[in-house]
Symmetry: C2
Subunit: 414 residues, 2 copies
């Protein structure tokens, strides 16, 4: 990513997103947003700086340790840069919702978080300042909470599928809460930082969850996806793994966590007094869950899952540009005219094009284009232009053909 | 805004944007983005937390005072929550651009900033954590810098005009840099915190800058907009005001600053060694300017400029919803069916609708709708539905008519 000019580190674990990287980040963010909206989750935005008082109410101010970036403002008040938002959303909830009539509620935001890691590593995969989507569900009872959990489970399958990722939901630790409502969504990758164990058949599952209706009972979808063995090392059970997975299907590898969904019941609502009145008049703490996706981390995870020696191979849905337009001879007026014509036609048809009109050699241009990884390359040179054709190549190598210049735009819009 | 449920304060000067307020914030952000893009400015994203080292290079670490939120990380490194980004963007520039061939450059980002105000006030107008769009220009010489400045000048006129605001560019202080290249864009409002003096004819100017071509010379547009007297109190010259403005045109009032553009030459590039090689081989510090728009502040400024006693009157371009759909009798199945039909038709045609299907009395629903300020209200009741009509009212009060139910959608899409 550094080589491709996508990001630049400003201090340990803190990055600037240069125009190319920023486009990818925005596309990923938009897919996450669309799938949250589709699941009936409402977007809001909480600030980065939070008052320590709320974290004292939940008891996490002292528990959180040195990963929390603690700040003192000019009036000597204790503040912090939010590593997550359970406390703040619970505070918003308790001040606005009082009755069972206003439940369920699913709320999310996409905001920069900070965790002061001792040794930030894996570039943006484990940076200190990172962009995260976090959702929170509020329900009257466990059954409602489970429905909210299932919605997020399915939304996550769809979200990662749209980015070309095979994310496997793995049983994850629930801590003192217990139960089975905690899953990490993990991309298998040997460079990943988590050790994982799972059934190989997961790799053949279709995660697109096409035609799902969020008003339906989603339990069958969740059951199908949790039927086979899949667990992180925290939850791994060697005997269960051996008995449930035939040895030729047993995958023991590493992975990258890209999402985590978690039901935690009344942990925060009890501590912070977030109660709702039930139909029978009783006041009970609301049932909650939280659901995170590492938006900036996903940029790294997608690259990890899709690259070769020459560089990145972007899935079309998140590519910074769909087409790389390569002018092989900038000095040749016919070639440059053809390129400019193509650039203007494609752009005005809504196709994102990155035009290489530098004076570099062809080899350098090809290498740059492959490093950046646009899904398509259009190679325009004097000989082709003379006979009315350009070369169209896919980054994956599956397509490489000469096509008439006048049919280029329709190839990308048709 | 608090009453309308748009925001909620989490600590002094720090707010959460609830779903309604968030929608307005996003619409304003998107208008700002589109006009920056149209002017040829490239978007990137710098982090909120910056290393103190860069600010020591520019000399501002000690100068900035208590408004800078200073932070020490777990390794005792001095960091800060960026109040602005001149240092960081200069660092990015000096590491990636070396030659006159890569100039000019116009870069921007839209990111949360923090200024630790002693007494945060005016709600989100002068909060501590605020969303700002800041652009930076890099040019070879003064003439180039002036062209960049003019681009941003025109982009700002267009940006504010799209939000229904009359923003007047006023001569502002340039500090030790001197010259005339600093303007604050100010909305006149008696509650504003700046004292301003200007010619009343500005209020009749058309700021839409329609059909502008950013490749043209924009000096005539800038000249037209700076011909008459307009200055903040810092730059006010009582004699000049008296001689240049007839007394019946002399406005002495208050205003809200929503944008500031500023040419500062080589102030940062010299201090931080951001040089470029000119065509003659010489190395010179690059000429810079910075250009800010207060995105979150604009939400407050628009409300200040457009409200009545009942609540907010949103311009259509930034309204959280375009239409408020009011069901007068939720228990009546024909009325509710008509409402649901309208809601689904309008939504699927891309019209943002806020549907009030609560059990409140009609009077409460009208009051809520006027407080929230959707530009249009559709009032659906049993009598109207029986004769196939609904009431369509504009928030401004200019339109109030009965229209056939089947023509509603085309009124909003046609």
């Amino acid at each position: 990513m550094l080589r491709a000019g996508m990001i630049r580190q400003s201090s340990a674990g803190i990055y600037s997103w240069l125009p190319l990287g920023f486009r990818v980040l925005k596309k990923i963010e938009q897919i996450v947003r669309e799938e949250q909206d589709a699941a009936g989750c409402q977007e809001l935005l909480m600030p980065t700086i939070q008052p320590a008082g709320l974290w004292r109410e939940s008891g996490r101010y002292d528990d959180y340790g040195k990963e929390m970036l603690r700040i003192t403002d000019r009036h000597d008040r204790d503040m912090l840069f939010g590593p997550t938002n359970e406390e703040l959303i619970t505070d918003i909830f308790r001040n606005s919702v009082k009755s069972y009539r206003d439940l369920p509620q699913l709320l999310y935001h996409i905001q920069w978080k900070f965790r002061d890691e001792v040794r930030p590593r894996f570039g943006i995969m484990r940076g200190r300042e990172f962009l995260m989507k976090d959702s929170y569900s509020f329900d009257l009872d466990y059954e409602g909470a489970r429905r909210s959990y299932n919605k997020m489970f399915v939304a996550y399958l769809r979200t990662f599928a749209r980015m070309g990722l095979k994310a496997i939901p793995m049983a994850a630790d629930t801590g003192p809460i217990g139960g089975d409502l905690s899953h990490e969504f993990i991309i298998l990758a040997e460079t990943g930082e988590s050790e994982v164990f799972c059934h190989a058949d997961y790799l053949g599952f279709d995660p697109s969850a096409r035609g799902v209706d969020y008003d339906d009972d989603l339990q069958p979808v969740v059951d199908e996806w949790t039927r086979l063995y899949a667990a992180t090392d925290e939850k791994h059970d060697a005997d269960g793994f051996a008995s449930r997975v035939p040895s030729d299907k047993a995958l023991h590898t590493r992975g990258i966590e890209v999402g985590h969904i978690f039901y935690f019941g009344t942990k925060y609502s009890k501590a912070m007094g977030a109660t709702v009145q039930h139909a029978d008049g009783s006041e009970m703490p609301v049932e909650m869950g939280s659901y995170g996706i590492g938006v900036s981390r996903l940029v790294g995870a997608i690259i990890e899952a899709s690259h070769d020696e020459a560089g990145i191979i972007w899935p079309e849905s998140v590519a910074p540009f769909r087409v790389g337009l390569i002018n092989l001879k900038v000095d040749d007026s016919a070639t440059t005219e053809a390129c400019e014509q193509l650039y203007s036609e494609l752009s005005s048809s809504g196709v994102d094009v990155l035009y290489d009109d530098t004076h570099e050699r062809a080899g350098v241009k090809f290498a740059t284009s492959e490093l950046i990884g646009t899904p398509w390359q259009l190679v325009v040179g004097p000989r082709g232009v003379a006979s009315g054709v350009v070369e169209m190549r896919s980054r994956t190598g599956n397509v490489d053909e000469e096509i008439p210049i006048e049919s280029v735009t329709s190839r990308f819009t048709g």
